[in-house]
Symmetry: C2
Subunit: 523 residues, 2 copies
């Protein structure tokens, strides 16, 4: 059939790197998860909207997480009319386009949610894919911090709906205006903003000492790689570091270098963030200079959010955290993330917190680009696969493969219509059932049924046909039977259960009995 030259010419079946197929268990778990989140969002009055995977490149903008390679990281192609099209790399930029395009007909504020695949043309790595699913919710047209607070509460409610225990997740909020204000107050020049942002963003990973190094000359990590620093003045570095120091650690800025002090502070038990204490630190550092307007505005917003959170009874789940930055450059106000706090083992075998499964913030500039007028907006995104991995880790998702269909075996190919009728009678009773459609004899058919995870097979060979019977073979009992000692009472009983001949007319009833025995039942 296939000689060697033909074989070597044949096409290789493989996926491009960073792309993955999904099987039944993952699909079912994802669907269940999405439905639970959707129910929460609907309860909050959010309505669904979907946009296509392809947009004009200019409509997506250059708001990529990795600003070192602007406009790289996106799959793009030239259209017939010489305009560039791109696959969306998130669901926020397309939403901004959608709202701007339908501005006059949409209710404002406009609350909406959407789930869909996004594409990143990046170097894939462990857990990093070039196509992955996001689940976003956004409120466009409200500048009120109540909109941000609502999203944080909705995120918390979603975690609860998924069965993640309280205490195992936390929603952390900070404000870009505060970070900008701290940078300004520190005296660090405005062109260092992005570098400051990135250094602070790494605090969870590198510690406060690491942030200090990244704000100074740079930092060498354990692998020996060197990241160049922002080269701020010692004063500016101290100022920023001090603003990030855990509450209750009362040293003054000139104590911050050398590192010794910080090492202690870093491991000190964390106290809840206090807006008042934070403000006092900044005031002390300013030494009489004016309090930055941005910082003041940011703190007022955080105070409002904190009050809403307190009144709604979410204080134990939604906290202020001055290290929340989020990588995206387009955020303009409150930024937030949902962290899972339970430990998992990392690649090096060390226990680490599971970390962020969702993040978002206010992006007042994104819709405005199209409208030429201010359109405030805020939203957040759930990484679907990452959250699913968390749920699997917590055992909140069915890991066991679902029971397969009942398999009706084929003994006489000329009577396939008879077998087909048996299958139809099972299906009509609401029982998942299928006819063996391969060309194998009994052995391969049983192997097939095993692979399909069938609870039982239906057999109608010449013996059965002569007697007007069918045999039902219970594969689950059969598997148990193989482990038992022969001749014992239990073995004999199981043997009777494992295989049973019944009159043809009782086929459905007998299969139902097998399903009931294993608590499977019709769906």
């Amino acid at each position: 059939m296939s000689d060697k030259s033909e074989k070597s010419n044949k096409l290789k079946a493989r996926l491009p790197r960073g792309l993955a197929d999904r099987g039944p268990a993952e699909i079912a778990a994802t669907r269940e998860m999405i439905e639970k989140i959707r129910a929460v969002y609907e309860l909050y009055g959010f309505e669904p909207v979907e946009t296509p995977a392809i947009e004009y490149t200019d409509a997506l903008g250059k708001f990529l997480p990795d600003q070192d390679r602007p406009n790289e990281g996106v799959f793009s192609f030239l259209d017939d009319d010489e305009q560039w099209l791109s696959l969306r790399y998130d669901l926020t930029a397309p939403l901004a386009r959608y709202v701007a395009e339908n501005f006059d007909t949409l209710p404002k504020p406009y609350r909406s949610y959407r789930v869909g695949n996004v594409f990143r043309n990046e170097k894939p790595g462990p857990g990093r894919f070039r196509q992955f699913m996001q689940f976003d919710a956004d409120t466009v047209g409200s500048s009120s911090p109540a909109a941000d607070a609502e999203l944080c509460m909705m995120a918390a409610d979603a975690m609860e709906a998924l069965g993640i225990p309280r205490g195992s997740y936390v929603v952390k909020i900070w404000n870009r205006k505060c970070l900008d204000g701290v940078r300004e107050a520190s005296g660090a020049p405005i062109e260092k903003t992005l570098q400051v942002l990135r250094a602070v963003d790494k605090k969870d990973r590198v510690g406060l000492v690491g942030v200090q190094e990244l704000l100074a000359k740079g930092r060498r990590d354990e692998s020996g790689d060197f990241t160049k620093g922002a080269e701020l003045s010692v004063a500016a570095n101290n100022f920023i570091t001090y603003s990030l120091t855990p509450m209750g650690v009362g040293y003054s800025t000139d104590q911050l270098f050398p590192h010794e002090v910080l090492r202690t502070a870093d491991t000190a038990p964390r106290k809840p963030f206090e807006i008042g204490e934070f403000r006092s630190r900044i005031m002390a550092g300013l030494g009489g200079r004016a309090f930055p307007i941005d910082l003041e505005a940011g703190l007022i917003e955080l105070t409002q959010i904190q009050e809403l959170v307190r009144r709604a009874g979410y204080t134990d789940r939604i906290i202020i955290d001055e290290t929340v930055v989020r990588g995206l450059e387009y955020y303009t106000g409150p930024v937030f993330e949902v962290d899972l706090t339970f430990p998992i083992t990392n690649d090096d075998g060390k226990p680490v917190r599971f970390g962020s499964v969702s993040a978002g913030g206010r992006y007042d500039g994104l819709v405005s680009r199209f409208r030429g007028e201010p359109v405030p907006a805020t939203g957040f995104s759930i990484g679907v696969s990452r959250l699913l991995a968390a749920l699997q880790h917590l055992g909140k998702v069915e890991a066991r493969a679902e029971a397969g269909p009942v398999v009706v075996t084929v003994f006489d190919k000329d009577r396939i219509a008879d077998y087909q009728q048996m299958v139809a009678s099972l299906r009509n009773a609401g029982i998942r059932a299928e006819l063996y459609l391969g060309s194998g004899k009994f052995g391969p058919q049983m192997k097939y049924a095993d692979k399909r995870n069938a609870p039982c097979v239906v057999i109608r060979g010449s013996d059965e046909k002569a007697k007007g019977e069918v045999t039902i073979k219970d594969l689950i009992v059969g598997a148990e039977l193989a482990k038992l000692e022969k001749g014992r009472e239990e073995h004999l009983q199981k043997q009777a259960e494992a295989q049973r001949a019944v009159p043809e007319a009782q086929l459905v009833e007998a299969v139902r009995a097998v399903l009931a025995r294993h608590k499977l039942g019709p769906r």
Copy 2:
């Protein structure tokens, strides 16, 4: 705020042609439809699988419907490693790649289904999009006509599950082997195969006379456009046309030209296809030459499918139709389509049959390309938007917008936490509710509630606050009230219903009463 130069610089918010956004009603209707189809497929033992939107271009092959432009019609881009990637243009080619890649671990035969977006880089037109959703089911690894028959029955069951009345849909089957055989028997050269296939494919649209013209010199349509014909001999043309003549029309092939005879035959009441009569016609036309092997094989398969269909009781819904061709070149055996037979009005205001919503067939060569060994396969695809349009036409899909959330209005921005708490108490009772987050006064808030399709709004102004009350305004009754004559008893009663003040503690109860009045209730 926005001066003129800024306005003219702003980005235009628009979608590339052939792409569309989807709103809540369409999303909900699509989800409901997909769930119903999915339940049928699961009952048949099919399991879900999903592949990514991006594949290696060579893995997708050139199996595009429009063979005039091979490899055009696909969105492609070059990867970092100089390999071409493409967006999938259907779900069949990726399935073939998936099965070939996972051949050893999959059960065989392998029944699976999948739903997802596909992309065509074609000139869009009315109802033609560059991204659209398909819902496919396939059986790989079985060469049995029972696999094809099963798919046809499953398609019929899906139509029933969607509420399409029996008689309003029909599954039509033919066989590529028969069409090839007829072409061979007619004496038309093998290189004319594709042209013959396309001419026959157009029979529904252009009639038998039109097919004859397309097999001869060509055909000019009503708009004046000319399609070049296959330029077959009169004998070959007659042979093929005769094979397509309705059953019971008993003229001989030399009567077929001129057209007069066919005009009559074309409008004659259609009789069910008879394999026997068809065979006799071919025999007569062959005049002693050998019956083509392909044709014989195809007719045997159709006979087997017909018997399975009959025994399963689907004769009224699954019929043999010698004009079913389907555009895709990769089909190798049975081909089938689901036609909706009820009339709709076309763009010219004329009544036409709704037509095909689903199609498929056997494609034994597609997986083999990767494996170097034969892997038979058969499957079919539902055009999701097209089927949804049909269901909307039949009134099987909720057209009315769903009731929106209860809107809690805001009178005193300093007390937003109070309003937020009212919203939370409603949500905790399972009632969709939201806080007005805009900056508008009462008028805009009521307009917003209208736009959100809110059943009622909750008001707590200074009056209510002083009395410890909230006012519930029933917007549905309010709308009815506006149409009634004032002062009448009904008007007075409605007036009492339209607005009601209750103690704060009775908020949830009072809102529940409004929802119950309109049979909305918590979800």
